[in-house]
Symmetry: C2
Subunit: 196 residues, 2 copies
DNA sequence: CAAAAAAGTTGAACCAGTTCAACGTTTTTT
DNA sequence: AAAAAACGTTGAACTGGTTCAACTTTTTTG
């Protein structure tokens, strides 16, 4: 992940495309640059795009009744992000999607994605594969939230996605893990004490 | 859902198949009958199949350190069930999948599913669509677990999937919702009192 | 670089949900 | 039909994590 990723390299990890296909696939995406704190998706508007992060960091969150924000998804280089319930079913979003750093993204519209999938079997396969991975990832997240303590969930994030913990502020990590920023602060303090 | 569903009717909701395709698709599935409390998948074994419920009720759960079981998935007629992290990546399972009622299922093996997807564009599209729906469903579950109280989560289940609440014992529903069976008992008691 | 805004820390009181143990009820098995 | 097993309920003590408010540190902005 050191060099800036490309959608061409990414798609090739899943399906074998020739140069022409690769160019055609890539042409459906449009590069967009966003500043820190800029919104890509807002509640009540339909999410027209999904985004692939080339550079930067983006989060998706919902604001609950009590005004707390709960982070639903994190994305850095080579991750996808959107409000999937809004994007896939083209219904009003419930999430904010916001840049946490100045970021460069590739966006694809719902319609262009449909055309892409209809135009080439391999593209369909690609989107099937990333959907399967997303479902499996989400299922792991459900499992950890049901079975692990706040501290264990934090440890797991650090172990499996150390990069995430560095790129996002602590209150974002805390809300992603389903705890308050104060409690995460206490967990980290305790680790410092016991580890030196 | 009154009459027993069929995989033919189900797949037609997503893609338009002619009679020959329909028969070919259906032939990849094998009907299996299981008795109440029988296991379909167990931890440490690779999940070789995914299952489509024709009749009955099935649950997937993980057993945590403290011996509590946490329900990850519920399935009744026309729902799919498996340990997706095991099935999709063909790695050892972490879940039990167990029949809660005597059930009739259609099973498809990982290899047959791969062959199916490779043999016809429309089958690939079908599996892409159900994977997307699974991802969106799981994301909604993450949202509710992050943003709602135990009582609100129960209310939402009753509202959106009333059938589920009737078909599964209360301790299964409780563990699916991320609370103890005792606490769900108290929630229900309180509702009885206030509603009559 | 000063001021303001955002992010992180700490203590003390609090509470939503858990735990444990005992008991009642329903379902399954023989 | 009796016994056993599974499921559900209740009370009382408890705890993992929250809340609130005040404060410190870091980052952003003019």
């Amino acid at each position: 992940m050191q060099p800036t990723p490309s959608i061409e390299n990414y798609v090739r990890k899943y399906v074998d495309l020739n140069d022409e296909e690769l160019a055609h696939f890539a042409s459906a995406f449009k590069e967009v640059k966003v500043k820190k704190r800029q919104f890509l998706i807002q509640p009540n508007f339909v999410a027209r795009h999904r985004y692939f992060v080339l550079k930067g960091a983006v989060r998706a969150y919902v604001v609950a009744e009590d005004d707390q924000d709960n982070t639903i998804q994190l994305a850095i280089e080579e991750w996808w992000i959107s409000d999937y319930n809004s994007y896939m079913f083209q219904q009003p979003a419930s999430m904010f999607v916001m840049a946490v750093e100045d970021s460069t993204l590739l966006q694809i519209s719902f319609e262009d994605e449909q055309r892409l999938k209809a135009s080439n079997y391999k593209y369909e396969t690609f989107f099937r594969m990333i959907a399967e991975r997303a479902a499996a990832f989400m299922q792991r997240r459900v499992i950890t939230s049901l079975t692990m303590s706040a501290e264990q969930r934090y440890d797991l994030l650090i172990e499996k996605y150390p990069e995430m913990a560095n790129r996002f502020p602590q209150y974002v990590i805390a809300s992603y893990l389903g705890m308050t920023t104060e409690f995460l602060s206490r967990i980290r303090k305790q680790k410092l004490r016991s580890k030196g």
